[in-house]
Symmetry: D2
Subunit: 339 residues, 4 copies
C-alpha cells in the first residue's frame, strides 16, 4: 500500500501516519519527493484493507493499493490452469471447448428433453436450464422450482448430458445440489455473499457469472469467497456488463477473457446470449469469445422462442444453433482447441 501525503503536510501529521502504519503491523518506508512525500507500507497483504482507513488522517492525500486482494484465485499462487471435472468424461478448462446450451427456463418435460437431444446432436456437452428463476418483475414467471430440477434430471437421463442450473437462495441451495452437476450463480447474485459462502460449502462445481457492474477484480473476489469456504471448482462466466449502449442488452466484455487468463488459473466461459440479448448477434460473439481464448460458452437455445416464458429474443432455434456449432469448430481449430 502506498500512502501519498499532501504537498506541505505537517511533520506531525507524517509522524502520526508512520506510527499508525507500525501499529497495524506494517513497516513504513518514506520516499521524499519534489513536492510531497510518499510512504510505502511493507508487509503481509491480507489485512491491507484496514490501511485504507489512513485516508481519514490529517495530511494524507490518498492511499493507493499495490497488490491484488485475492489469493486462492490468483495465478501468483497457482500457476497452472485449473481443469474442473464435471462428469467422468468431461471437464472444463482443458483443451476442449465446452458448450452449455438450453433454454432460459425449463417449461415442460417435452421442451427440455427435445432441447437436450437437439443441442447434444449439435455438439453441446452440457445442458442448461433454469428451475429457480431470478426475474426483475415479481409478476413474471418464477420457474418450475423442484419440478424443474426433476425435469432436468430426466433430460440428463435421456440425453446423457450433465446440466447446470441456477441457485438463488441459500435455503434451497442443497436441494439444487442434489440434482445439478454445476451450480450457477447469476449476475444479480454475484455479490450475494451469503449465497457465495453457501455454495462454497457444497461439493459441486460453481459457474459464477460476472455482475452487471462488477470490475474484474471484484469478480475474482467473489470467486475467492467460494474458494475460501473450501470449494476450489469455480468457473468464471463473462456475460456482459452494463454500459450506456442500448443497441445490445449488455456489453459483452470479451477483453475480460485475456485479462482473467493473465490473473487467474480458473477457467473462463462466455455467455453471448445474455451478453447481447439478441439472437442475431449470438453467433458472431460466440466465435469472437472462442478466438479471445474462452474455455467454453453458454448459449440459450429454445425450440420455440416466440412462445418462450423468458428471454425469447436472445434464444437460438436448434437448427441455427447447429449451424453455429459447425462454424464454431473452425474457430476452435484456429485457436488450437477442440470442440
Amino acid at each position: 500500500m502506498i500512502i501519498v501525503m499532501k504537498a506541505g503536510a505537517a511533520k506531525k501529521d507524517k509522524e502520526e501516519v508512520l506510527k499508525r502504519i507500525r501499529e497495524l503491523g506494517y513497516k513504513p518506508h518514506v520516499i521524499h519527493g519534489a513536492t510531497r512525500d510518499v510512504i510505502g507500507a511493507v508487509g503481509d497483504e491480507r489485512g491491507k484493507l484496514v490501511l485504507h482507513s489512513l485516508e481519514s488522517m490529517h495530511g494524507v492525500e490518498s492511499v493507493v493499493p499495490i497488490l491484488q486482494p485475492y489469493k486462492l484465485a490468483s495465478k501468483e499462487v497457482k500457476k497452472e490452469s485449473s481443469v474442473i471435472p464435471v462428469s467422468e468424461t468431461l471437464s472444463i478448462g482443458g483443451r476442449e471447448i465446452v458448450v452449455m446450451a438450453g433454454p432460459c427456463s425449463v417449461e415442460s418435460g417435452e421442451q427440455i428433453i427435445e432441447t437436450a437431444l437437439a443441442v447434444k446432436e449439435a455438439g453441446a456437452q452440457i445442458l442448461r436450464g433454469g428451475a429457480f428463476k431470478p426475474r426483475t418483475s415479481p409478476y413474471s414467471f418464477q420457474g418450475l422450482e423442484e419440478e424443474g430440477l426433476k425435469l432436468l434430471a430426466r433430460a440428463r437421463e435421456v440425453s446423457g448430458l450433465p446440466f447446470v442450473t441456477e441457485v438463488v437462495n441459500p435455503e434451497t441451495a442443497e436441494l439444487v445440489a442434489e440434482y445439478a452437476d454445476i451450480l450457477q450463480i447469476g449476475a444479480r447474485n454475484a455479490q450475494n455473499f451469503a449465497l457465495l459462502k453457501k455454495v462454497g460449502q457444497l461439493k459441486r462445481p460453481v459457474l459464477l457469472k460476472r455482475g452487471m457492474s462488477m470490475t474484474i477484480q471484484e469478480f475474482l473476489m467473489s470467486a475467492e469467497y467460494v474458494m475460501s469456504e473450501g470449494n476450489q471448482s469455480v468457473i468464471l462466466c463473462e456475460r456482459g456488463i452494463r454500459t450506456f449502449e442500448t443497441a445490445t442488452r449488455n456489453t459483452l466484455d470479451l477483453s475480460a477473457i485475456p485479462v482473467l487468463k493473465e490473473k487467474t488459473h480458473l477457467p473462463v466461459v462466455a455467455d453471448p446470449s445474455h451478453g447481447t440479448g439478441n439472437y442475431h448477434y449470438v453467433a458472431a460473439m460466440a466465435f469472437a469469445a472462442v478466438a479471445a481464448g474462452a474455455d467454453g460458452l453458454m448459449i440459450e437455445v429454445h425450440p420455440d422462442p416466440e412462445h418462450a416464458s423468458s428471454d425469447g429474443p436472445q434464444s437460438l432455434k436448434p437448427k441455427k444453433f447447429a449451424m453455429m456449432m459447425e462454424k464454431m469448430r473452425l474457430f476452435a481449430e484456429a485457436a488450437g482447441r477442440t470442440l
Copy 2:
C-alpha cells in the same frame, strides 16, 4: 407495447404477429407508416413481458414497451405520498427530514453507544450500524452478527433512537427483524429476489438501497417485490451508481430524487457517505440531497475513523457531523421542511 415491423416486412409475417398478439390476449392495432408498419398491442399491462418474445418473430424489428412494469409502487395507483411510521413518534416521508447516522459496522458496545448519544445530540433521529456486513473480501471483518444486534438494541435503550441495520441472508432475516426497527437491503442485494421476498413477509419497514448499476425502473421493480409480498413500508435509498469517474467511490445520482418523486409515492432518502466515499464531500452532498427533495439522509459517523473496521475514509467524526446538522437546518428550512 408497440411492435415495430421491418421496412418491407412480408404480409404473412405481419399476419403471424397479429395472430400471436391476439393469442396472448391483447388487441392489435395497426398504424400504416410511410416506410413500415407499427402495431400497438392494447390490453392489461401485467403479463406484458411475454410480449417481448415477439422480437423473435420474422419481420419484427423491435418491441417497445409503453407502460411502467410496476404497479404497487406507482404514483398512478396511489397518488398521495406514503408516510412510513418507524416508532410511535417518528415517521419517514412527512414534512420532517429524517437523519439516520452511525458507524458502518458495530465494533463494540462503547463505540456504538458513544456514537448513538453523539448523533442524537446533534439531531439525528435514527441510529445506523452494521451487524451482518456484506464485504467484497472474505478476509475483511464480517460484522459482529447477533452480538452486534444486541449492542444496537442496548444503544437504542440508552439513547432512545430506533435503529436500522442490514439483512444479508433470508436465513437470518427473522433474527434481525426481532431486534431492528428498520431492515436495510444493501446495494449488492438490491436484486437478490429471495431476500426481497423474505423481507416482504416481515412486519418491519424496509430501507432498500439502489443497486450500483440499477436503473430507476429496476429499483422500483425491487420495491415492487417487497410490496407484492404484503409489506408496503418501503423506503428508497439513493446511494450512488457506478460510473467511469474515479474521484468519488460512486456517483451519487441526485436526479433520482425528483424522478422518483414523480413516479412513486414511496419516501426517498440519500446516502452521501457511500455516494462519495470521502468524508470531505459528505456535507455538500447532504445539503444538495435536501435541496433536491430528499425525505431523509443516511450518514456514516464514527468516533475514530482512522481506527474503523470498515469505511473509515467516508465517516464523519461526531463534531463535524454536528456542524453539518447545524447548517443542514438552513437548507431544510429553504426546502419548506423541518429537521
Copy 3:
C-alpha cells in the same frame, strides 16, 4: 510515479528499469516488499507521462501515477479562488451566484429579446443562446450563425445582460469573440484540443463544459489547455455525464462540485437543463447545485418550448423560471451566498 514490479521479477529486469528511470531524469527509490519490489521515481512532474512507457518493460506489473497532471488549474499552485470578471459590474466565482438563462438556440430577434427581458426580470445576470449549434444530426437546425450573434448583441443592448454563446470551430472563434462576452465550449468539444488552444489565445472568459464521459481529471486537463495558451479565465460547467440510466438524458454529477472546489481555484457552475433533459427536474437540481456549492447555473428558458427548434423538453417557460428563481434565493441564502 510508482513502478510496481512483478512478484519474482529478475534482478536484470529491475536494473533495466532503474537505468531507464535515471535516463528520463528521475531519481529511483526502491522499496523491497514481502512479495515484490516497488520503485518510486522522484522528480519534476511535468514530463511524467513518458514514465508510463515503463509499463512495456520486462518484469513491470504496473505504473501508478501519484501526482495530478495539471498545474495552472491546480489549487496547489494558486490557493485563493479565482473570480472572473464578465462585465464592469459582474463577475463569476465570488459570493454572488450567477445565473445564465436563455434558449438553446437563437431563433429570431423577437424570441431572444423577449427571453432576455424575461430572464433579467426574474433575476438572471447573463443571457445564453446558441448561434452556432453542434447537433448530432446533420439534418437538424444548425443555428443562425453570424445572424444569431447579431441578434444576441441586440438583446444585450435592449436588456443590458452580457451573453454567453458557443464556439464550435477554430475558424469562426474570432468572429464569435467579437460579439460574445463569454465563449462556451460544448461537451462534445471538451477534448477538441485545436479549439481549446484557439480560445486560449482569445481575450474572453471561457465557459468549459465537461465532456459526457470525461473524468474530473481530464476536465481539468482541458482547462489546462486553455490556460497554458495564456487565458486564465476559465469557468467550469458540470452538465451531466453519460451513464446507463435512461430516465434522465444524462446523470448530473453534483459531487463534481465539491471535488472540483477541492482541486482547483476555478469557478464551477452547473447546467441542470442538459443534466436532466427534462424541465420537470430542472428546479430540484438547480437548488441542489446551489446547496452543493456551485458558483452559478446555466438554465434553458424558452417562451414557447413546444415550438422550440431544439431542446424543447428541457426548457422552462419564463413564468416557471421566475418561480424557480424566487425559491432559489432561499437556498442561496442557506449557502451563505447572494443571488
Copy 4:
C-alpha cells in the same frame, strides 16, 4: 414517432397534441389503450427530431422514436456492403481483411521507415502513424505536424504502403489530405461536427473512430455528417468505450461489429490497441474482432515501445506483431476471409 399520453390526460390536451402533430406535417393516429392513449405520428422521417418538442406539452408522458435518424449510412437505403478503394490495388470492406499498423506517433524518419518495412513484411497493408496528435495534456508531445506528414510520405515511398493519419483541425485538414491516403477522425473528435463537415468535403476516405461514450446510433449519425457533405467513403472504427472497468484502458465493444453490420453498409474495423491499452491483450482481441466479422484492424506497432513518445504500453514490437499476423491468418480463414 409514438407519443404516449399520461393516464387520465384531459381531452383538451390530447386535442392540442393532435393539432400540433398535424401542424408539423404528420398524420396522427390514435390507439385507445386500457389506461392511456398512444398516438402514432406518421410521415417522412427527416424532420422528426422536432417532434421531440411535444414532450413539453400538457398531458404527454413521453415521446418514443421509432425510426433510425440516419439515412445515407443505413442499410435500408443501400443494401449491398460498401467496398472503399484506398489505392489501385487495395480496398476495405471486401473479402480481404485489411490491417493498418504502425506507431502511435511519427517520431523520426528512421522510426517510421523501419516500422513500415516491418509491418509490411508481416502482412499489413496500410501504415498508420500520427503527425498531429490530440493529447489530453498540453505538456505532452503534440506530434511532428507537417514534418510528420512528410516522413509518412517518405515511408510510403520506401515501403509501398498507403498511410492513414489523424486530422485534428479544420484549418489543417486540407494539408493532411494532400499527403494522406486515409483521413482519421479520432475518438475525441467523433462529434466535432465542424471537422466532420470539413472531411466530408475532401476527396479522401475517412476512418471514423467511435467516441468514448458514443452510442452506435450516434456513431452512425457522425458518419452521416461526413456523407451528407458528399464523401461516401467512411470506414467505421470500434476502439473501445468508457466503462467502470479499470483493468483495461477502455472496453472494446466487439458486439458493435455485428450490430453495425446489420444496420449499415459501411465497412467496420477494430482497434484493439486503444481498446485494451495493454499490448498483452492485443492479439486475443484482434483475433476476436476477426471472428466477430471485422473488415480490418488497426494495430499499434513500435520498434522500441519503452522509448515511445506516446502509447508505449499498448504497442507491439514488430516481432510480436508478425507472430500475431501468422495466427490471425487462421482466424481469417475460419471467417471465410483472406488476410
